[in-house]
């Protein structure tokens, strides 16, 4: 086993990981930083984000307004002081990206252009056409090349964290190209491993979004928080689940059912806004959870159309015209043509909800530190408390920057005041893991990881979909627990060392099973409906602040059933109020005094 030392290890080379690495390098230039990723950084799923990144930008906007939108979007389950920090640091991070060369879309006078986004009362979403995540990721990756102290370990798959006396000591990784094990010792570790959308069959996520970091922290006793909140994006392409950006609605696209009717007006988002005149927080610019739920209702009522095997509604962009589509939405035009053979300038795009984002994640404090000293988490894998029960589109790209930077700085500070853990204890932990891996490799028969994965995806969709029931979740939880048992005797056929992708896919399924249990347990125990978690059971169909204005915390218990606790939510800035959109918001008091 190879051994090497780093002051800081960053696990994950997406937006949060790269931003953290750069921040650490800038804060403490003498530190040696290892950026470990199971893929090349520019393959990370940040690349697929389309719509944009939010920050208070216009004169008429305010921090208070961004905070209110985010807290209301979260159905009051966001940590409000965290949101406050976020909205105050968002703008400077986007400007920093600009200084690093990000090709933000501009107005005629050369200033930054902002667009409308769902659930935001003022236009504040910066964008780079409809490839914002791509441009941000490449800008960050290219900028990271300026820092020789950031040493990349591309295509290194992290297997486990090394923890001694509840302090982080490093990670164990395998070099994918050779199969060789590496003990990477570190004083600080930042997890930036992304979400867990691949737990669901129908999703917008890349194959790598398997929740590895969440599972690793969870197995070492860190709580997974608010995992029951899984965001369905309302507009995925049927079949593949490929994302069609919310920006297409921000730019004026409309949603219709099979009868050509703008059904969103029937779900508390109306009245209908005139064609080509989108209005913030009305109709198509409602939040994602509400839109996905409206789809489900339409489907139940038999008003959805068909594309192949999928029930669909339609995203109509025709009135925007070919030229405007080419300028503002070129990528989704290309995707619609390639994957469903539809030219959006001529025909409406068939769409349906698809799992998109994991609101919950590794619990951290407001400074991104977990309950393990020196272990930080940032980005989609983390639950710093920004999104609560529902994330607003364009908050997460900014989150990568604001909290990636913070995690990087905190990790640098910690590493500067810390020594490496003693090697022998780490070697002992590593040998144990090595034996487990050897056992997996030696097993010649047993359960198939492909079968386990398939059953997991199906049961997650059945039990933890857009609408949930007690019986459905009970059944899913039971199934997950059985699958975890079966996974104990999983086997792989490929016994080689060089690029053994079967081995890694098998490990990813193992990570997924543990997170799935946390997700389903949180969902089952939350006997109310809030944000993206909606139940059909009697007594659970509305929000219940008296009993459930709390974060769920799920703790790993080895092979035993996971344990759940509740944690108080910070509502110190904006007291809980009714969550309303469209005209319904006018009678609510949520945003009283907002300006």
């Amino acid at each position: 086993m190879q051994q090497s030392d780093f002051d800081i290890l960053v696990v994950g080379g997406g937006g949060a990981g790269l931003r953290a690495s750069i921040a650490a390098a800038e804060k403490s230039p003498h530190l040696k930083i290892g950026l470990v990723s199971k893929v090349y950084p520019m393959r990370s799923h940040t690349v697929a984000a389309e719509g944009g990144a939010a920050a208070v930008t216009l004169e008429k906007d305010s921090f208070q307004a961004h905070l209110e939108d985010t807290v209301m979007g979260s159905d009051w389950l966001a940590e409000q002081k965290v949101v406050d920090y976020f909205v105050r640091h968002a703008y400077q991070e986007l400007v920093q990206m600009e200084h690093w060369g990000c090709p933000w879309s501009r107005k005629e006078d050369g200033s930054i252009q902002v667009r409308r986004f769902g659930g935001m009362k003022v236009e504040r979403t910066w964008f780079a056409a409809d490839k914002t995540g791509f441009h941000m990721l490449h800008t960050l990756y290219q900028t990271s090349l300026k820092f020789p102290q950031i040493q990349r370990l591309d295509e290194f798959f992290v297997l486990d964290l090394l923890v001694l006396d509840n302090a982080i000591a490093g990670v164990i990784a395998i070099e994918v190209a050779t199969g060789e094990l590496h003990l990477l010792r570190a004083k600080s570790v930042i997890l930036a491993t992304g979400g867990a959308g691949r737990l669901f069959r129908f999703n917008t996520n890349g194959g790598i979004v398997t929740g590895d970091g969440m599972a690793m922290a969870y197995r070492h006793g860190v709580a997974l928080r608010d995992m029951e909140f899984v965001q369905y994006h309302p507009t995925g392409l049927p079949g593949s689940g490929i994302l069609i950006t919310e920006a297409s609605r921000g730019e004026g696209g409309i949603m219709v059912n099979k009868d050509g009717y703008r059904y969103l007006q029937d779900y508390g988002l109306g009245p209908e806004t005139p064609l080509g005149k989108p209005e913030n927080k009305y109709m198509e610019l409602g939040p994602r959870d509400k839109l996905s739920q409206a789809f489900w209702q339409e489907q139940q009522a038999g008003r959805t159309g068909k594309y192949g095997d999928s029930d669909v509604v339609y995203l109509d962009l025709r009135h925007l015209g070919e030229k405007y589509l080419q300028e503002r939405l070129p990528f989704i035009s290309e995707l619609a043509k390639a994957f469903v053979n539809i030219d959006p300038a001529r025909e409406p795009i068939p769409v349906r909800p698809a799992v998109h984002y994991t609101m919950g994640g590794i619990m951290t404090d407001a400074q991104c530190e977990t309950s393990i000293k020196g272990l930080y988490a940032a980005g989609e894998c983390a639950s710093v408390g920004l999104h609560g029960a529902n994330r607003l589109g364009s908050n997460s790209l900014t989150e990568l920057l604001v909290f990636g930077r913070l995690a990087g700085e905190q990790a640098a500070e910690n590493a500067s005041n810390q020594d490496f853990a003693a090697m022998p204890a780490l070697q002992e932990q590593s040998s144990k893991l090595q034996q487990q891996l050897a056992a997996l490799n030696e097993r010649t028969s047993g359960e198939s990881w492909v079968e386990i994965k398939k059953e997991l995806l199906i049961t997650m969709e059945e039990g933890c979909g857009i609408y949930r029931t007690e019986a459905g979740m009970q059944k899913t939880l039971q199934t997950i627990r059985e699958l975890r048992k079966r996974y104990q005797t999983v086997h792989i056929q490929d016994k080689s060392k060089i690029y053994n992708t079967e081995f890694f896919m098998c490990l990813e399924v193992g990570f997924g099973l543990d997170i799935a249990e946390a997700t389903c347990l949180g969902a089952l125990e939350r006997r109310e409906s809030r944000g993206a978690h909606q139940r059909l059971d009697e007594g659970c169909t509305s929000r219940n602040d008296q009993d459930f204005l709390s974060h769920s915390l799920v703790y790993f218990q080895g092979q035993e059933a996971a344990r759940l606790e509740w944690q108080e939510v910070d509502t110190s800035i904006l007291p809980p109020a009714e969550r309303a959109y469209g005209d319904a918001a006018k009678s609510g008091d949520a945003t009283k005094g907002a300006k």
Partner: protein, 245 residues
């Protein structure tokens, strides 16, 4: 519907020779080559290895040769190869690690060599205002196309020069250098020119133009390389005349 997909396999721990293997894959109108590979891996042969992630032609992982042409596996579809059949091979001009996985290191080294980041006009980078620079849509237009490269490497598989000389920094890296040189916020052209002017730089290109043909994002690297030659010629001339600072 079913289609036979033939794949060039290479399992270095078993044999030093590549071999061909065929699989029968069910497909419908939406089945991509990547879907076919996933089907093979999960249902027929778990030892087949390939890179992939986003499935939507933006992460740049899944480059392959399809019937001899560089392509992304995720955005070509079996329906279009019923008549011709389908042979998948690893991307040309790169060392093969295993099956369809190639060694990307030379590609990344070339990218890094051109200083592909904004070199700001302020000599001290710490002096930063917290406001964005001005950049008009016209200024953005000058380089935007060249900033759309997803680093998939298909243009290197298409480039006969790179095939002959892997030291040639190649279409994607030259395009990226050009992207920054064209950016009105950048002042790093002088730092990038030595690499572009060098023997392995823009002048190695013989303007075959196949790179632009295979580019899945219409970045048009051939145009970037050719414009770089003009910049390079001017730069060389200026330095001969002693006009360059």
């Amino acid at each position: 519907m079913e289609l036979e997909v033939t794949i060039q396999r290479y399992l270095p721990e078993q044999s030093s020779e590549p071999f061909k293997q065929s699989y029968t894959v069910p497909y419908d109108t939406s089945t991509s080559v990547l879907d076919a590979l996933t089907y093979i891996k999960e249902e027929l042969d778990p030892t087949l290895s390939y890179r992939w992630s986003c499935r939507m032609a933006i992460c740049g992982s899944c480059g392959i040769m399809l019937n001899g042409k560089p392509m992304l596996g995720c955005n070509v579809f079996l329906r279009d190869y019923v008549k011709t059949g389908m042979l998948l091979e690893p991307m040309a001009h790169f060392p093969v690690e295993r099956d369809l996985i190639i060694d990307m290191e030379s590609f990344l080294t070339h990218l890094e060599a051109v200083k592909p980041y904004l070199i700001s006009k302020d000599s001290k980078e710490s002096v930063q205002t917290f406001e964005p620079n001005n950049q008009t849509p016209q200024q953005l237009d000058k380089y935007q196309q060249f900033s759309s490269c997803i680093n998939c490497g298909l243009c290197y598989s298409a480039c006969p020069q790179f095939g002959l000389n892997p030291e040639f920094i190649g279409p994607a890296a030259l395009t990226l250098a050009h992207r920054y040189n064209l950016d009105n916020r950048d002042a790093g052209q002088a730092e990038r020119m030595p690499m572009i002017n060098s023997e392995e730089g823009a002048w190695s290109c013989t303007f075959v133009g196949y790179c632009s043909e295979v580019c899945p994002k219409s970045v048009d690297p051939a145009a970037a390389v050719n414009q770089s030659k003009v910049t390079s010629a001017t730069d060389l001339l200026m330095s001969l005349l002693g006009g360059r600072s």
